[in-house]
């Protein structure tokens, strides 16, 4: 039986349009053999949770550079719990002050990747921590 590919949703929540990082990560994960869906810009937590459900993803990668992470991440985690999708691994990448990281992890974010992270580190993390959900 061939193993199902890891399915990843890369999402840009909030109003920010700086999508360089999101696009690089989407492409790097795809090059690493994963199925990647990119939501495009300006997704509300509701839109992200429902896309994750419809696409039946194993991982959600959020790219946030605007400082809105403390508002947006807990909202998304709450919505995922309501959909019984707490087993989806949620990662955040972007400009996140170190002081905010413990709070995000407490809210259920699996890992926070700061500027300067190589794409390989993220690929390795996903491979090491994510089991496909079927």
């Amino acid at each position: 039986m061939s193993e199902r590919k890891i399915r990843v949703l890369i999402a840009k929540p909030g109003l920010d349009g700086h999508d360089r990082g999101a696009k690089i990560i989407a492409r790097a994960l795809r090059d690493a053999g994963m199925e990647v869906i990119y939501t495009g810009l300006r997704q509300t937590p509701e839109m992200i949770a429902s896309a994750a459900e419809q696409e039946d993803v194993d991982v959600i990668g959020l790219s946030i550079l605007s400082g809105a992470h403390n508002t947006l991440c807990p909202q998304l985690m709450e919505l995922l719990r309501a959909k019984h999708m707490d087993d989806v691994t949620v990662l955040v990448g972007g400009i996140i002050p170190e002081a905010d990281i413990p709070g995000l992890k407490k809210a259920g974010i699996a890992e926070v990747f700061l500027p300067g992270t190589s794409t390989q580190e993220i690929v390795d993390f996903v491979r090491g921590h994510v089991r496909t959900r079927d």
Partner: protein, 547 residues
């Protein structure tokens, strides 16, 4: 203190002291660089035609004969955070420190045309810039700052015409003569579709608003630049230097075409077009880019548009050091990067400059970090000696050859976009977006493979202490929401509705919208209400997401 194990063998020690040199030498954009440049690299180059003198076409050497001997560049630090009161205090501090122009950073809700109390504004109010929801906020932002005496740059695009109307209304309240107002509205919507993605409406109505500001400006504000045609964000999105140059100039060509189509005479508005470029790490590549930009623009203005006024030919630009080059690791290294980048902008003949602060890979700058960034410019201006002569690098085989290569590379892109039917057609096919995404991915791969070294990130890594950074909390949003609630209670709701209706009717037709926007902001219609009124008529733009 290093926690690396001590090297043991002499080979290891040697490797530590002389890391392997690359096989191929390229700029940060991946442009190949030869071992030596000589006269043989300039065979088709004619000094008189391609270089000229400063202040004379083709302006390769700069747009003023005396350059910085006559007047230094404007030191214009971009600032904005929290409420209008917070930013007003930072502005007055920066002016006291010797800054010579203001530059407003707006928060994301403002940039996207939402009021601070809109549900989509949650978590974003005052974070990336100052929150401006109405003329009331704008009055506080410029409190005790005489608009006839300062020059103000406003970094806003989709709602630019509305925010400009607010600025003009504040000026009127201060009894400042509009004819004396000086500054720059970014107002470059094309690069939003290409790179920064802060668009609201589809390209055609957005361009109409831009040309409305050109037309209004030629009549009422002869000293105000209605646009800053920006490569900065294209570069930040990951483009090469040549792509930045080409897409920016092609955007400029698009605006000139649209202005002419409106019935404006090219020499009536082209002198007020200004540009904005990135100042990235690769010192000579950046200098060549600025020099090529001036040469190409004067050529296009004369040959394509038949402009007769030399002020239409001369490309004036603002530069900002590269935010994307700043590292979160070892943030004090960013001071050095910024100094090198700023020096490139100055050696490339910039008219105004923003230097980034060392903490901007983490947050908006603290007052300490912003002051150090301004001091960096002052040291270049007053201590380095590079301002003593115009275009000190002119005639260097290397710089002239790189300038030629940038010129040729950009011209090829411009021809390609012409063939696609212009920039709007190219954007609709995602052509520039795709070129940038490719370049950005290539660069990331080069960094991941250590073909490009970033000190402190993929080489010379060490642990550091976290920085003290500026924190904006949610109290800003609460104060803004309260101010909006009061505003909506105190103004005449009926008058606001009447003026918004008139604006919508005008938007359905073809007349210039500036007078209607001015009327609406004067009645304290909010930014969100005005943008919504235009959304009703123009619709909203959705891009095709590419990865």
């Amino acid at each position: 203190m290093s926690d690396e194990k001590p090297a043991t063998s002499s080979a290891e020690i040697e490797a530590l002291h002389s890391p392997a040199r690359p096989q191929h030498f390229t700029t940060v954009s991946g442009h190949p660089i030869r071992q030596l440049y000589t006269a043989a690299d300039l065979v088709n180059w004619e000094a008189q035609r391609d270089l000229g003198r400063p202040g004379e076409p083709p302006y390769t050497r700069g747009i003023h004969p005396t350059m910085y001997r006559g007047r230094l560049w404007t030191m214009r630090q971009f600032a904005g955070f929290g409420t209008a009161e917070d930013t007003n205090a930072r502005f007055r501090y920066l002016l006291e420190q010797g800054q010579t122009g203001l530059s407003v950073a707006f928060d994301l809700p403002t940039l996207m045309g939402y009021d601070s109390d809109h549900p989509l504004s949650q978590g974003e109010v005052g974070k990336c810039g100052v929150a401006i929801s109405s003329l009331a906020d704008m009055e506080v932002l410029f409190d005790r700052i005489p608009l006839a005496e300062v020059t103000t740059s406003m970094t806003i695009n989709s709602p630019a015409a509305i925010v400009w109307a607010m600025y003009l209304a504040v000026a009127e309240k201060q009894s400042a003569d509009w004819k004396l107002l000086s500054g720059t509205l970014q107002n470059d919507i094309l690069k939003e579709y290409i790179a920064q993605k802060e668009y609201i409406y589809p390209p055609e109505p957005s361009l109409r608003l831009v040309i409305d500001t050109f037309e209004f400006g030629t009549r009422h504000t002869p000293r105000f630049n209605p646009i800053s045609i920006s490569g900065y964000h294209i570069r930040e999105a990951g483009s090469t230097a040549i792509q930045e140059l080409a897409f920016t100039l092609r955007d400029g060509i698009e605006y000139v075409e649209r202005g002419i189509r409106r019935g404006l005479a090219v020499d009536d508005f082209a002198p007020r077009l200004s540009f904005f470029f990135n100042a990235h790490n690769d010192f000579f590549e950046e200098i060549a880019k600025y020099r090529a930009a001036r040469r190409i623009w004067q050529r296009e203005m004369r040959e394509r548009f038949g402009a007769k006024n030399p002020r239409s030919w001369a490309l004036r630009f603002h530069a900002q050091t590269a935010g994307c080059s700043l590292t979160a690791q070892q943030p004090y290294n960013n001071v050095v990067r910024t100094a090198i980048q700023a020096l490139a902008a100055v050696m490339g003949g910039t008219q105004s400059l923003h230097t980034n602060s060392l903490d901007e890979a983490w947050a908006l700058p603290t007052e300490f970090a912003a002051t150090l960034a301004l001091r960096t410019q002052q040291i270049i201006a007053y201590e380095s000696g590079v301002t003593n002569t115009a275009d000190p690098l002119g005639g260097s085989y290397f710089v002239e050859a790189l300038t030629n290569e940038a010129d040729h590379g950009a011209r090829e892109y411009i021809r390609k976009i012409d063939a696609l039917g212009g920039m709007v057609a190219a954007i609709e096919r995602s052509y520039p977006q795709r070129e940038i995404a490719e370049a950005s991915y290539r660069y990331q791969q080069a960094v991941d493979r250590k073909e490009k070294i970033i000190v402190g990130v993929n080489e010379y890594v060490s642990e550091g202490k976290p920085l003290e950074v500026l924190q904006i909390d949610e109290s800003v949003a609460l104060r803004q929401q309260e101010r909006l609630r009061r505003l909506r209670a105190e103004r005449s709701g009926e008058e606001v509705r009447r003026r918004l209706d008139r604006l919508m009717r005008a938007a359905e037709g073809a007349e210039n919208l500036m007078p209607h926007l001015y009327d609406a902001v004067k009645a304290y219609a909010t930014l969100g209400e005005i943008c919504d009124a235009l959304r009703t008529v123009f619709g909203a733009y959705e891009e095709v997401a590419i990865t």
